[in-house]
């Protein structure tokens, strides 16, 4: 392995990963969990949207409401590697567990379920739903004596709801404010908020170099800051190959690539060159250069966001388990873990 940069977030315990639909936030969350495990940390990777995306990425059975060991990081110089566990959090199970843990409500808990109260609580008020989801994340990050024998984690990575909903999701306090002004659920949400507002939490945003996702990322950051939620880094995902120099790109855009030279090179490489091949390559270079130009202007906007940024390549053919390790290594090299 190449040497890793020192982490930009050494003291962060909860890494929240959000992003617009289609930007690959789940992939980034998984890669980040592996990257952290490769620094020797024990990591819990959580998902809360009922998609079972983690199970698909790691090629395991759909996850139950339990912490399942799914992968190991790459061993560091000392030969030690951290472990990644995964947890699929659903609000109903979280509520029942919460009732059992804090109220010893075994029978009453089941009665609540039977009367549809659990359903009611988790459907009517998304605030309640989010308190339960984030509450479980909190519990995993700050294990106490109530959950005996549970695994202790150095870091929790949360594959969170998309950018458009992230502030509302994390800001459980204000969502609940209208509903519960006092009472245990209110103090629960206060405790959760203390962790989320602290330096031990960071919200990372995943984007691609296109106009709408970048705009949404900028709006998301403003929104998080306005609500005192700690913004982490921006991960630019699905970046096109960066093979060509700026000069070559400019020439390709202007249609001024050295056609004769390229033709000679192609022959040197043992190819049978005809006009179709040559024109094809030049047209492809032109299209690529146009897109790279658009990407670069979006990249400048990302740079102006004033937060650390990381880039991950687009992997032709889709991300497989092996690719996750490669992405994790890239995040480490860039200092995200």
């Amino acid at each position: 392995m190449t040497e890793a940069a020192s982490s930009d977030w050494p003291d962060v315990q909860v890494h929240v990963v959000t992003g617009k639909g289609g930007t690959g936030k789940s992939t980034v969350a998984a890669a980040l969990a592996l990257a952290l495990a490769s620094t020797g940390k024990n990591v819990l990777l959580c998902e809360v949207e009922g998609r079972q995306g983690i199970a698909r990425m790691f090629d395991v059975e759909p996850l139950p409401y339990a912490e399942i060991r799914i992968a190991q990081g790459l061993p560091g110089p000392d030969g030690h590697a951290g472990v990644v566990h995964a947890l699929h959090i659903d609000p109903e199970s979280a509520l029942l567990e919460y009732l059992a843990m804090y109220y010893k409500l075994g029978r009453a808990g089941r009665a609540l379920d039977r009367f549809g109260v659990i359903d009611f609580a988790t459907t009517i008020a998304p605030g309640v739903r989010d308190v339960l989801l984030t509450g479980k994340v909190y519990e995993a990050a700050q294990r106490n004596s109530r959950n005996k024998g549970a695994i202790r984690y150095d870091a929790v990575v949360l594959d969170a709801p998309p950018t458009g909903r992230i502030t509302q999701f994390l800001n459980v306090n204000s969502e609940l404010a209208g509903l519960a002004k006092v009472g245990p659920i209110k103090s629960q949400s206060d405790t959760v908020m203390t962790l989320f507002r602290s330096e031990r939490t960071k919200v990372h945003l995943v984007t691609v170099l296109e106009e709408m996702p970048v705009q949404e990322t900028a709006d998301g950051i403003d929104d998080l800051r306005a609500n005192d939620l700690p913004v982490g880094g921006v991960v630019v995902n699905l970046v096109r190959p960066q093979d060509l120099s700026a000069e070559t790109l400019a020439a390709a855009r202007a249609g001024e690539l050295d056609r004769t030279g390229i033709e000679e090179d192609l022959r040197k490489a043992g190819l049978e060159v005809d006009d179709a091949l040559l024109d094809g390559l030049l047209t492809e270079a032109h299209d690529h250069a146009v897109r790279r130009g658009l990407e670069d202007s979006q990249r400048q906007l990302v740079a102006q966001l004033g937060v650390p940024t990381y880039e991950l390549p687009r992997i032709a053919g889709g991300v497989e388990l092996g690719d996750l390790y490669e992405l994790a290594a890239q995040l480490r090299r860039q200092g995200m873990a």
């Binding site: 009517i124 509903l179 492809e284």
Partner: protein
């Protein structure tokens, strides 16, 4: 239609012969009064609905498009920057064939408020609108946006039938967690409102309810302990005030559901050539069929374009390697070609997998444009690609 078309993008490389989705035939069919665009988030649903609406208008339909959350510049181009629930005419179109296009952005909360107000007395409506539980329900109930999109569709449809204002309604659906949300939302909302617990909250602690008072006591105690007595009281007030509206809500939900099933409706499932989006599209297609909803076809957006030369990815990589560090520009061009060929091949695999599992679903493939769409010309271009895909 005799015009021949060349396939662009992944389908060009596959043998899977999904029937072609003829978008122009769909929008020219005067029997089609509603087109619903659905699919998972980030696949270009809003752009697709706007492009379909614009093309239909320029081909002579009188169209209204209901969008959920358009990109700012697209909204500006269509003149719908305000969330005011009122369709506004889009200018700059070629209306020589007698069509027209209005556009509106859905305001979920005020749509919900309107329903409440229309169903009850002003006093009761005011009481409901203020209740914290109503506020939570109307702003962030999982599925409210979906439900309200369908409610708005129902409203516009009824009004259009009366005054003949539109003959085609195009609806964008919210970027749901799951595309199924919006089909389930009306049912979920009404079954929620019918829920046992709600009934329980409505039951005074006497009469037949005594029979279950043991269970009830247990529950009330537990709830008081967890949420506090105040919340429980708010909940009860809300449910009591809302009770008279339940019937109306259920009825409207059922009406909308029937409207979606009717012959004049057509569903377009939108996807991108990516595993998650196509998995969701497959799921959704099956679900539409199971619910006997009229599926028009699948739109695959943002497909990589077939490279112009036929050299394979492997051949290009091998040639690049043979250059052995020299001729870096040429080697880079070869690698670029290889990357593109691999993208196209993997998209083709995904799409043909879909086609194999759903051989009867017509499909159109729209190649990725180099830049984002944020003006009417861009929409026109997407419309043309949709129709020729």
């Amino acid at each position: 239609m005799t015009r021949r078309h060349t396939r662009v993008g992944p389908l060009a490389a596959t043998d899977a012969r999904a029937p072609r989705l003829d978008v122009d035939a769909l929008i020219d069919d005067s029997a089609v009064g509603i087109i619903v665009c659905c699919g998972s988030g980030g696949v270009g649903k809003t752009t697709t609905s706007a492009a379909v609406a614009l093309r239909a208008a320029e081909r002579g339909r009188r169209v209204v498009v209901v969008t959920i959350d358009p990109a700012r510049r697209l909204a500006q181009a269509m003149g719908i920057e305000r969330l005011d629930n009122t369709p506004r005419p889009v200018t700059g179109l070629d209306l020589s064939r007698g069509g027209g296009l209005d556009a509106m952005m859905l305001d979920m909360k005020s749509t919900f408020d309107e329903v409440v107000i229309s169903q009850t007395t002003p006093e009761k409506a005011a009481q409901i609108l203020e209740n914290p539980f109503y506020v939570a329900l109307s702003t962030s109930f999982a599925g409210t946006q979906e439900y309200m999109a369908m409610e708005k569709l129902g409203q516009i449809h009824r009004a259009a039938r009366k005054d003949g204002s539109y003959d085609l309604i195009v609806v964008d659906t919210p970027p749901s967690r799951s595309a199924l949300d919006f089909l389930d939302a009306p049912e979920r909302l009404s079954s929620f409102l019918d829920g046992r617990f709600i009934r329980l909250l409505l039951t005074p602690a006497k009469g037949p309810a005594r029979l279950m008072s043991a269970g009830l006591g247990l529950i009330t105690n537990a709830l008081t302990k967890i949420v506090g007595a105040q919340v429980l009281r708010d909940m009860q007030t809300f449910v009591a005030a809302f009770d008279t509206l339940f019937g109306g809500f259920r009825q409207r939900a059922q009406q909308t559901y029937r409207l979606l099933q009717a012959d004049g409706t057509a569903f377009l499932v939108v996807a991108a050539p990516e595993p998650d989006a196509l998995r969701e599209a497959a799921y959704f297609t099956e679900r539409l069929e199971a619910d006997r909803m009229p599926l028009a076809g699948l739109v695959v957006n943002r497909a990589s374009q077939q490279p112009e030369s036929t050299m394979s990815a492997e051949e290009a990589m091998a040639a690049a390697a043979r250059l052995n560090g020299e001729a870096s520009v040429t080697a880079a061009l070869l690698r670029l070609h290889s990357d593109r060929a691999r993208m196209v091949a993997s998209e083709a695999r995904l799409i043909s997998r879909f086609a194999t599992g759903h051989p009867d679903v017509p499909m159109t493939v729209v190649p990725a444009l180099p830049s984002d769409v944020h003006d009417l010309d861009g929409l026109r271009q997407v419309g043309a690609l949709l129709a020729s895909g």
